[in-house]
């Protein structure tokens, strides 16, 4: 029997692009597991919008107790003996006002646990962007999963690299979209179940995500399969231009020492034919010796710029159309031009020395090692014995 994974979706957590992507993911994973999408009744208005995902709805309910002495004592017990530096107890500081004294609110999710459920995925709420209902469901779902010994993985929609990290502490694992979130959470969470999505997936989980990002993700899945690109191989996008054949050959020579870790995506205009040779032929012919030192390569139409999302970085000899798009899409660009002074503007960097080019490429390789595709993360949950995140540790 195939294992099942519950993906919990609420009102503010879905865009048409995310929905299309989740459908793609559902289909992609279907041979290995069933991805079940669940929506709380508080978000029932999205059921129609995401009907392609075959979502099911579940009930939520809330019960409250006011000025309950038992509630007050129970809270006091939880906080008992925990103090700030210099000894003031948390209970003294927070119990009566911020923690509501004897008032208690309990939200339940009435989910009937499907057989062979191996995990729950949900979005991490953030202090500057989530609604109260959404958060109550989040907490209730975590409690439900813990009671049912189901590991929970939270994913980043809004930035998690903030001073507030309590919500991110609650799931057993965290999927991040941003490198800075990944690096930051590594320093503040006491487990190692933190993953960074590749750009083509990370860009999907955005409230401003567009078709561009979705096409990028689909293209990445296609080329990764088509070109048999292993998960850890770094992909670089090379916006080739026939006006700079010498320069690109130089770049390939510089990168050759780490070529076995690289897949090169050569992007160019399909109509750029010089004499009897297409660009693809020029590349294959002129760089024949250099390409042997690279693990794999592929060719791409520059009119499909979303395919660039698959790349860890773009490596070019000059700023160009593709570097502009890369800049807008937060894909790091490395421009190697010995004749211009070096420059670093965040996602756009120019180097004029070969050693700096190689260093920048190595940084891209290192960055890639942090990243995991969503499918690979999900598959960690299907390992037998995964309970409450204990088996997630890599």
């Amino acid at each position: 029997m195939k294992k099942k994974l519950i993906w919990l979706i609420q009102s503010n957590q879905i865009t048409p692009t995310i929905c299309d992507f989740l459908k793609t993911l559902q289909i992609r994973m279907e041979k290995l597991l069933n991805l079940l999408f669940m929506v709380p009744d508080s978000s029932c208005e999205i059921l129609e919008k995401i009907k392609d995902l075959d979502p099911t709805s579940f009930k939520t309910s809330t019960r409250t107790a006011n000025t309950s002495y038992q509630g007050y004592l129970a809270k006091q017990k939880i906080l008992n003996n925990t103090t700030f530096t210099e000894g003031l107890s948390f209970s003294d500081v927070l119990l009566l006002d911020d923690l509501g004294g004897g008032n208690v609110i309990q939200t339940f999710v009435e989910i009937v646990k499907p057989d062979h459920t191996c995990g729950l995925i949900l979005q991490i709420p953030t202090p500057l962007g989530s609604s109260e209902t959404e958060e109550r469901v989040f907490h209730a779902a975590i409690l439900w999963a813990n009671q049912n010994s189901i590991p929970v993985i939270g994913y980043e929609l809004l930035p998690l690299d903030t001073r507030w990290t309590l919500a991110a502490t609650l799931p057993d694992g965290i999927i991040t979209r941003y490198n800075e979130s990944y690096d930051y959470l590594k320093t503040v969470l006491n487990h190692k179940n933190i993953w960074l999505l590749p750009l083509y997936e990370g860009s999907i989980f955005s409230s401003v995500s567009t078709e561009f990002n979705l096409n990028g993700a689909k293209a990445a899945y296609h080329y990764r399969n088509d070109c048999s690109i292993p998960a850890q191989r770094t992909v670089l996008y090379v916006p080739h231009n026939v006006a700079m054949i010498y320069e690109y050959q130089e770049i390939l020579k510089v990168m050759a020492p780490v070529g076995d870790q690289l897949h090169l995506m050569f992007g160019f205009g399909q109509d750029q034919v010089r004499g009897a040779y297409s660009q693809m032929e020029i590349i294959k012919t002129v760089y024949h010796n250099e390409l042997k030192k690279f693990a794999s390569y592929s060719f791409h139409n520059m009119n499909n710029p979303w395919e660039m999302l698959m790349a860890e970085s773009l490596v070019a000899c000059s700023a160009c159309f593709q570097t502009t798009i890369a800049q807008e899409k937060n894909i790091p660009s490395i421009i190697f031009d010995p004749l211009l002074p070096p420059m670093d503007k965040g996602y756009k960097k120019r180097v004029n020395r070969k050693d700096n080019l190689l260093k920048a490429v190595k940084q891209s390789i290192a960055l890639k090692q942090k990243k995991n595709e969503l499918g690979d993360i999900i598959m960690l949950l299907t390992r037998s014995g995964a309970k409450n995140g204990s088996f997630l540790e890599k």
Binding site: I78, F84, G100
Partner: protein
């Protein structure tokens, strides 16, 4: 003019606008006498900055006192909090009253404020701190750090405290003192285990001013004219945050709408949300709304009360007290009344209970509602609730002054020894009122002190005493000295005089009605040999029922002194350990030399005199173990000890020592391996023995 306040620095924490009506009048009074007032606000989504800005107060934010150097400590505290909360939130719902991210923001802000408040007090070194209460995080942390710095921290009362609330127990936990409006509130708080000794009724600080403003500005006349209702009969219906079904008020709306001489103001609680109000008012038919005004924040509640001829409570509300104080008749609608309510205007005879229909009929009949209210009960009620309105601010300022004076007191009152010792012991006894008790006390001393070294007895006798007491006193022979304590004189001054004139090398002071048991002086003799001259010794003291009255003093969770293992049986094993305590009560024995060097008893310490001399000795000797409890030195109270409550005693004691009084009762239990269940069981056993079960 009193120059005391010149350049005294006061820091007041202000949060919400309605808090300031209690705080500002006091601060303004002190500022007018030369004090420098500094207001601070904290981090909250209901902006506390706005409170200050709207009142035109200069303020600092707690965060202003945080520097880059504090970052690590803030992170450390946040991490500790986060760990605790994450652990709990993963397992149960109890800490989930607020959404997770709101808790998170609170935790981070708390971590910052904790450090900010510490830095604020270290930097500013105020003479006194002031806040409405210490029930929220800002008040609690502010009070904690002030206590750490031994800066007096005084809190007030907010609202009527008529409901059941566990918060009352924390009302004066870290505060030096908590000033409340009246006796009733004090009793209420004490009923919830708040510290009796630290809660002082002083009166209400804002009502008198409000009433004066209303009168001066002729608000009733002016406002009624503005509304065009000068000759109308005006009813004020007060509602709370959760609105009841409007149909319940239908007879009132109907009557008011049908009578041109009637006007009704419906006042919603500030916490009520506008959509909630809109929804509620839409449910009332339009033709019923004639002559009725629905007020949320458009009018000041006091202005409305002034305009009104009768106030009607449609739900639980604190506005009732204010209406009564303004002299308005109060009606409580029957559906808002509950006989089980912990606080009821109706049950106290200061409000009339009526159904909406009855009230509507009374309006039609032009009833004089004031005739329905019992004036005597109303006066009694106001006295009990408010003690004082006219002089409340003076009362508060007076407490502030005495507290600061105590806090900075360095007076050594006892002075030099007048008499070189030629006796081993001087036993100083305060003569009780009851001659039987006195006789038994003297017999116990005489009988149980034989062959344990020569001693003298110094008796402090009241100027006015019974014939029996006088007869006993006159019959005494031997080494007995008598000192008369004139009426209205401070007996502590005379106790110091007794100490100075004593001929004994060792001084022994006994509380009234306290009698020693056999071998007590031998026990003391051994103790002096074992521990040396620099100690104060305390005794194992039983009450008249054989329960522990004092087995060394610890500090409870309210940071007030209590006896270790109080009310347990005298044989309770943990009470039989010789060890040092911070304080002992009712009995002290010490070298006369030490008594004089420490300055003797402090006259202002009142009933805390024994505790005070212990703390002074620890400070003087710089020895945390200077006070030694001797379980083999046994004493017994021959009768119940009644100690007169004098607020000045508490003001002095807590004003002086609040910074030294930190919870130690729980620690003692931990050291002794006693669980709360063990204590509960021991209390039960002791209680059962008392009733002979």
């Amino acid at each position: 003019m009193d120059h005391f306040w010149k350049n005294k620095k006061i820091i007041a924490y202000i949060a919400l606008a309605h808090h300031t009506r209690f705080i500002i009048p006091v601060m303004e009074r002190l500022a007018s006498q030369g004090a420098r007032i500094r207001y601070i606000v904290g981090q909250a989504e209901r902006s506390q900055e706005i409170t200050a800005l709207e009142l035109g107060l200069e303020y600092s934010h707690i965060y202003d006192f945080i520097t880059d150097a504090d970052y690590d400590e803030i992170q450390k505290n946040y991490h500790l909090l986060k760990q605790t909360f994450a652990h709990s939130l993963k397992r149960h719902f109890l800490l989930g009253v607020l959404p997770v991210t709101v808790i998170d923001k609170t935790l981070y802000a708390t971590s910052m404020e904790y450090i900010g408040l510490r830095n604020l007090l270290k930097k500013e070194k105020p003479d006194l701190c002031f806040a409405l209460h210490e029930l929220n995080r800002w008040g609690k942390m502010f009070a904690f750090w002030a206590k750490k710095e031994n800066i007096p921290f005084i809190t007030l009362q907010e609202g009527l405290t008529y409901d059941i609330d566990f918060g009352y127990s924390g009302h004066a936990q870290y505060s030096t003192l908590n000033l409340v409006w009246g006796e009733r509130v004090k009793r209420k708080m004490v009923g919830f285990e708040a510290p009796e000794s630290k809660i002082l009724p002083v009166g209400n600080a804002h009502l008198a001013k409000e009433m004066a403003v209303q009168k001066k500005k002729r608000v009733r006349e002016t406002k009624r004219k503005t509304y065009g209702i000068s000759n109308h009969f005006v009813s004020l219906l007060v509602l709370s945050a959760t609105l009841p079904n409007p149909d319940l008020f239908a007879p009132i709306f109907k009557t008011v709408s049908e009578n041109t001489g009637q006007t009704l103001f419906v006042k919603f609680h500030p916490a009520c949300k506008k959509p909630q109000i809109d929804k509620w008012t839409k449910l009332i038919p339009d033709h019923f709304k004639k002559n009725t005004y629905f007020i949320h924040a458009e009018e000041n509640t006091y202005d409305l009360i002034s305009m009104a001829d009768v106030c009607v409570l449609g739900q639980l509300s604190t506005t009732g007290l204010e209406a009564i104080a303004f002299g308005k008749p109060l009606v409580k609608l029957n559906f808002a009344y509950s006989s089980k309510a912990p606080y009821s205007f109706v049950d106290q005879g200061v409000a009339v209970k009526m159904s909406a229909l009855e009230f509507a009929k009374a309006l039609t009949d032009k009833t004089d509602f004031s005739k329905l209210i019992d004036k005597e009960k109303t006066e009694q009620y106001l006295t009990n609730e408010l003690i004082d309105t006219a002089k409340a601010i003076e009362n508060i300022c007076c407490v502030f002054k005495k507290t600061i004076q105590a806090n900075t007191d360095t007076d050594k009152s006892a002075g030099k020894s007048e008499q070189a010792p030629d006796k081993k012991w001087s036993i100083i006894i305060q003569v009780p009122d009851d001659h039987n008790v006195f006789l038994a006390q003297l017999e116990a001393v005489a009988f149980n002190s034989e062959n344990q070294g020569d001693y003298e007895i110094i008796l402090l006798e009241p100027e006015k005493k019974t014939t029996e007491i006088t007869r006993i006193l006159d019959s005494l022979e031997g080494d007995v000295k008598r000192i008369v304590v004139p009426e209205n004189n401070n007996s502590i001054v005379l106790m110091n005089q007794a100490g100075n004139m004593a001929r004994g090398e060792h001084l022994i002071f006994l509380e009234k009605k306290l009698a020693p048991l056999k071998g007590w002086l031998d026990c003391l003799d051994h103790a002096f040999l074992k521990h040396g001259d620099g100690k104060i010794f305390g005794a194992s003291i039983s009450d008249q029922k054989g329960k522990i009255a004092c087995a060394g003093m610890v500090v409870d969770h309210n940071h007030t002194p209590v006896s270790a293992y109080r009310y347990l049986q005298m044989g309770f094993p943990s009470a039989l350990k010789e060890r040092s305590f911070q304080m002992v009560d009712y009995f002290v024995a010490m070298k006369k030399k030490l008594f004089c060097k420490t300055g003797g008893f402090t006259p202002q310490a009142g009933k805390y005199l024994f505790l005070d001399i212990c703390l002074k000795t620890i400070q003087y000797k710089d020895d945390a173990d200077a006070i030694v409890y001797l379980p083999d030195l046994k004493m017994i109270f021959l009768d119940h000890l009644y100690q007169r409550e004098n607020p000045d005693d508490a003001i002095y004691f807590y004003g002086k020592w609040n910074g030294c009084l930190w919870e130690s009762e729980k620690k003692l239990h931990e050291v002794d391996g006693i669980s709360p269940e063990d204590i509960a069981q021991a209390k039960l056993t002791a209680a059962m023995q008392s009733i002979g079960a």
